[in-house]
Symmetry: C2
Amino acid sequence: MTGETDRRQVAEHLALTLVGAGMQRMAARVLAAFLFTDEDSLTAGDLSEELGASAGSVSGAVKMVMQMGLIERVPVQGSRREHYRMRDRAWTTLYGRQHAPIDDILDAVARGVESVEPGPARERLVYMRDFYEFLLSEVPALVERFEQRRSESRP
Amino acid sequence: MTGETDRRQVAEHLALTLVGAGMQRMAARVLAAFLFTDEDSLTAGDLSEELGASAGSVSGAVKMVMQMGLIERVPVQGSRREHYRMRDRAWTTLYGRQHAPIDDILDAVARGVESVEPGPARERLVYMRDFYEFLLSEVPALVERFEQRRSESRP
DNA sequence: GCGAACGTTCAGAAATTTCTGAAGGCTGGG
DNA sequence: CCCAGCCTTCAGAAATTTCTGAACGTTCGC
């Protein structure tokens, strides 16, 4: 509820926190910019200026954040620039996709189970496989529950 | 179900997959070594030999993996070396802790909510905050459900 | 106590990731 | 058709992460 400088600082702090959680630096900064703006949409140029970063790195970061499904292109007629904005269900889709690597892990573990004779190692691998399978099946339901609850409380 | 060379290859592949999911390289290799061994426990020396890595990097990696709660020291009398093995509920605890960064994110977002005037940005931040709060409260229950199901099927 | 076997720490080297800046490609207006 | 504005790509520079190897503690057997 304070000044504009403060808003940027807080945004930057959130970006750094996301970096701590494993996100790429510039991608996190771009994301924070979208979170904290009251504009309808931002262009690559806006971001470059706002963040004080080169057009090149902004371009790469935007690409990443878009692949994550957090922002989307928004068509604006009468403008040659590409406009972007956050997607509505950004966070739930992000969380869902965070679990995409789990598919890969699952494959690798399943291969492990096949490659070892029965014994302690195999039991360990089976346990790991079962857990990741469980996650893969339960997470979508979890996300859905959140969205449902939300739509109820805001009819 | 094939040779020893194969086991190592499969283990190494799982390690690389975990790296892809964000884990540190040597930590992932150490973890895979524990997953795939039929020994009761491994020492730093064992790992160094098995992985062909220096004692120094093994030491650092073991420290990390232990902080993650995936392995534990096991007392072996009559041996000067430190022995380690995987913890029983390694995967569920890991998943639980994966959500530790969420606390930090939650703090940062909450600060964001306070720092902006009512408007689109604020609504976005509130949504994000609510979602992470939801996760924080639901994940433990999810993990518990898995363990319960598992203990039922293996009485 | 002394010596040997292990493990840890840390400075520096190596590898990887990340950013920049310049060159080039589209697109729409004139 | 040409030009201007905007974005993307890419090679190289900068920063960061990760590994090694040597020096230093510790612990146990003797």
